[in-house]
């Protein structure tokens, strides 16, 4: 079982990110379970969502406390919420940022992870460029697909196309593609 | 001018009741109650008290609704006197399909009946919901307002006897000031119910902009039947508020029910009017205005106002001012309306 936890702020689409991940995994023939950390969904408040991916039916219903992957939609959370809590030391981390790990103040922490397991993606910038709005989800999921290999890029684009109307979907797929390629190169 | 209005113009009122007798109407326009073919929606043998205004009001209302719909009618009933005295199984008095659910939900149940019938392709069957003043102005108020604002296809009839009679005469928000009830006893400096409280449900209904709102009284059978018939000719949410004296709760004589109801209308305390989409379209003029005292004196619930040697002139005058305000507001006196058209049958 591969467990992912997504951190963001209300209004950034944290729940949608988990949903997209699960739909992409489902498209790849896997079982997936996405769910929000329920409660305050006020704009700007720190929020969490979860996605489990497995080859067989997923039965457990607890929140993910020891994630294999983290997606951090908002780097301002790094120092206000314990986003790294319980993360698998062999796991993956995707951060929405154009700044270096040094600038983010996490260089020491991420150094212990295997190579190519941690990446920062300027997902908001990619979204502004392709979609015209600061919606980082597609790019982050593109990056997730690239470094974890849990879902294929085709499944990512399918999930995006299922969720959004055609024009917006294509713009998001383009953002996801660019993030996917960037992360593969890194 | 039709034969009908010609007759109305001549005003052959009966002595005593001051209403136009059946004998002066064309046969087609005579009251349902005079017809051998009346549906008898509520048959005799029920358990209402002698002189019960609600039993009369409900029979008049439902028999005319039955005539207006050719018998394709379902009735929903709130808990209350009407429900209790017409039923206990197996001796139901209802000759029409009838449903009782709870005290406070009759309007919502009726909405469901109408919706269900529509989806079963039976929208020829029409729906009447009914309740007393407690079930309407108090506990059922939320559901009633919801039914109104959705403009559901229901005629709701409130039989107003101005208190919770079924449970032993407690105050409702339709109880008038100074009236004695079990929860507004006639003791202290200001015996009975206080001034400045209560709800005017016909006005509240009008504020929902529903297609039709009317007040009616058991004292004027033709007027009541005409209003129910008119309401059944319309669709959407409709509301009729009928004054039904309660001999037990009001302390009036059983044989005076019609008289008391007529005096309520003639003194101005219970104005008869119709409104469509929030605007008053017709009022029933008072033929001969009477002072409120004439109405109040027949009821023991107001007896403390008329104690020998200690008459409560101040509060009687205050009630008179309420009646006068109604008369002004609705233009209930003929002389205030220079164009003396017969308003009983608005065009």
């Amino acid at each position: 079982m591969f467990e992912t936890r997504i951190h963001g702020r209300g209004g950034q689409g944290v729940v949608t990110a988990a949903e997209l991940l699960s739909v992409a995994a489902f498209d790849g023939g896997k079982h997936a379970q996405a769910f929000p950390m329920f409660g305050s969904e006020r704009m700007g408040a720190p929020v969490v969502s979860f996605c489990r991916i497995d080859e067989q039916e997923i039965r457990r219903r607890e929140p993910i406390m020891e994630p294999d992957a983290l997606i951090i939609q908002d780097p301002t959370l790094l120092h206000s919420v314990d986003v790294f809590s319980g993360v698998n030391p062999e796991g993956y981390i995707i951060i929405n940022s154009t700044r270096s790990f040094e600038e983010l103040g996490i260089a020491e922490f991420v150094a212990s992870f295997p190579p190519h397991h941690v990446c920062d993606i300027g997902a908001t910038e990619l979204a502004m460029q392709h979609v015209g709005r600061p919606v980082p989800n597609a790019a982050l999921i593109g990056g997730f697909a690239a470094i974890t290999g849990q879902i294929g890029f085709e499944s990512v684009s399918k999930a995006i196309r299922e969720k959004f109307p055609p024009a917006i979907a294509e713009a998001n797929v383009a953002a996801a593609r660019e993030a996917y390629d960037q992360a593969k190169e890194a | 001018m039709t034969e009908e209005s010609a007759l109305q113009k001549v005003k052959f009122y009966q002595t005593g009741t001051h209403t136009v007798g059946n004998r002066f109407m064309s046969e087609a326009n005579r009251t349902v109650q005079a017809s051998i073919d009346r549906s008898n929606a509520i048959t005799s043998g029920h358990r209402a008290c002698q002189g019960c205004g609600e039993a009369l009001g409900a029979r008049y209302a439902l028999d005319s609704a039955m005539r207006a719909t050719d018998g394709d009618l379902v009735a929903v009933n709130a808990t209350g006197c009407l429900e209790v005295f017409t039923t206990p199984y197996p001796e139901t008095s209802w000759q029409i399909p009838w449903l009782h659910s709870l005290f406070g939900n009759a309007p919502a149940v009726a909405s469901g009946v109408a919706a269900g019938l529509r989806r079963l392709g039976r929208d020829n069957v029409r729906v009447v919901a009914q309740g007393g003043d407690g079930g309407t102005v108090d506990i059922g108020f939320g559901c009633l307002s919801g039914m109104f604002e959705r403009n559901d296809d229901v005629l709701y009839v409130c039989y107003d006897n101005e208190a919770y009679m079924n449970t032993g005469v407690q105050r409702s928000s339709a109880t008038p000031p100074t009236a004695r009830t079990a929860t507004t006893p006639a003791v202290g400096d200001a015996p009975g119910n206080v001034f400045g409280t209560g709800k005017n449900l016909p006005q509240i209904a009008m504020a929902h902009n529903i297609p039709y709102v009317a007040t009616a009284t058991v004292a004027d059978l033709h007027d009541l039947e005409a209003k129910v018939t008119k309401a059944m000719g319309m669709h959407g949410a409709r509301y009729i508020h009928i004054m039904v004296p309660c001999p037990l709760g009001w302390g009036s004589k059983s044989e005076d029910t019609i008289k008391v109801a007529r005096l309520a209308m003639e003194c101005g305390l219970f104005p008869l009017f119709e409104a469509e989409h929030g605007e008053v379209t017709a009022v029933k003029k008072i033929r001969r205005k009477v002072p409120v005292e004439a109405y109040l004196r027949l009821q023991r619930r107001f007896a403390h106002l008329f104690k020998k040697g200690a008459e409560d002139h101040e509060r009687i005058a205050r009630i008179q001012r309420m009646a006068d305000a109604n008369i002004r507001k609705y233009g209930l006196l003929p002389q205030e309306q220079p164009d003396d058209q017969p308003l009983e049958q608005p065009a």
């Binding site: - | 709870l102 079963l120 559901c143 604002e149």
Partner: protein, 425 residues
């Protein structure tokens, strides 16, 4: 069709396939997505011949359903928590009238303190209202149970609640096989009412009944539930035949063969329990679990059969009966009255408190040593509880309990927000 879909949306689609005539909606978290989903289908015209009615309260929602059902229309609504209590009078009334309404409960705690998260306090509060109560373990089962619920309700003329854990199921995306209209149509015949308001055959429904027959009417409500015990298994079997999967039934046993400890629970927590059972089985512990699908009627015989070989029973309950402990355990004890075993009550998951595999593992180990209390509170923070008990003993004006507990849990936060005050003398 297999879909990756939100639980609420899956239920909305399943209900739509049952061709309801009247659906009443009043928003309450966490149920709201279901009626929103149905409303969207009605508005878009994909669900035909259905009246979607936005009402002004839950009391009205069920009342509208009562009226619709009484004319022979198939009626549905959904609610949760305070909403279920707000309609309580109508809940009893619908059952008393014998109207086969189906209602989803997105199980949620009841205040005060107000809490939007999952537990079973709401449906438990209505357990004796005369409704059949079915609990779903997964979203697939939630969808499937609704299809079975209409059939069961209409065959008995008795209302059915389908309970699904709020948020944990209602808001979770997982794969659900949404059946075809043909499948549902072949399983669920059109509604043929046993009573119907009809001008062609007028009668009174809902009139007063005195002491002469009231007890008999109530007995027949009990009889109906006993009949439901007979009908639920064949309905589940027929469902399997047409849809090709298991759903519903009375109880489901998991690895209970030779089990010394059997854990009994309702709803989605059974998934987590099964994982812990697997882990302990691997370590050689003789443990199994039983998931109760039909809580009302309560399957005494089926449970007796499922539990009788064990040495002890652990009832994991997401609701508390203050002053007693747990309602599930009380009911389970009745199933074991001729076969007395220790039945432990464990209160867990109240108001959304997470039930983890870790806590369950420790709990089941303690159970295996028979070192549980009669009533155990899983993962209760005893420190803040004791602090509050002491505070209330010392101070007459000890203030609102909930606030005191949260202050004790977040001392730093409180100091930042407001400096410490002098204690009352």
């Amino acid at each position: 069709m297999l879909k990756q879909i939100e639980g609420s949306q899956a239920v909305a689609e399943a209900v739509a396939l049952c061709r309801p005539h009247v659906v009443c909606a009043y928003p309450i978290t966490p149920q709201t997505h279901i009626v929103e989903g149905i409303g969207a289908m009605v508005k878009a015209g994909t669900l035909e011949n259905c009246e979607f009615i936005n009402v002004e309260s839950e009391f009205a929602a069920l009342s509208v359903a009562i009226g619709a059902s009484a004319v022979g229309a198939r009626a549905y609504t959904a609610t949760a928590s305070q909403g279920l209590l707000y309609m309580a009078e109508a809940v009893y009334n619908a059952a008393g009238l014998g109207l086969p309404i189906v209602m989803t409960i997105g199980n949620r705690a009841i205040g005060s303190p107000i809490n939007i998260w999952n537990d079973h306090s709401d449906s438990m509060a209505m357990k004796d209202a005369g409704w059949i109560q079915l609990h779903a373990e997964t979203n697939q089962e939630a969808a499937d149970l609704h299809i079975q619920a209409f059939k069961l309700a209409e065959s008995l003329s008795c209302p059915v609640m389908v309970c699904m854990d709020g948020f944990i199921l209602t808001h979770a995306y997982e794969q659900v096989d949404i059946p075809t209209q043909e499948q549902v149509d072949s399983f669920l015949p059109p509604f043929e009412p046993v009573q119907q308001l009809d001008p062609a055959n007028p009668y009174s429904i809902g009139a007063m009944v005195g002491p002469d027959a009231f007890a008999e009417v109530r007995y027949l409500a009990h009889h109906k539930q006993m009949e439901a015990l007979e009908r639920i298994p064949p309905i589940a079997a027929e469902f399997k035949e047409i849809f090709g999967r298991e759903a519903g039934g009375l109880v489901k046993s998991y690895r209970t063969e030779d089990a010394e400890t059997i854990v009994v629970a309702l709803g989605s927590v059974n998934g987590t329990i099964k994982e812990v059972v697997d882990a302990q089985r691997e370590a050689g512990v003789k443990i199994g679990s039983v998931s109760i699908c039909s809580f009302r009627p309560f399957p005494l015989a089926a449970l007796h059969e499922a539990l009788k070989g064990a040495k002890r029973i652990v009832c994991l309950e997401k609701s508390l009966a203050p002053g007693l402990g747990g309602m599930l355990a009380s009911n389970v004890r009745m199933a074991l009255r001729s076969h007395p075993l220790p039945v432990y009550t464990v209160i867990a998951g109240l108001g959304g408190r997470v039930i983890t595999r870790k806590s369950l593992s420790e709990l089941f180990e303690r159970a295996g040593r028979d070192s549980l209390e009669d009533v155990t509170f899983l993962d209760l923070n005893w420190e803040v509880v004791q602090e509050q008990i002491a505070r209330a003993r010392e101070l007459r004006h000890s203030g609102p309990i909930a606030e005191n507990l949260l202050k004790a849990l977040n001392p730093g936060l409180v100091e930042r927000v407001s400096p410490p005050r002098e204690a009352n003398p």
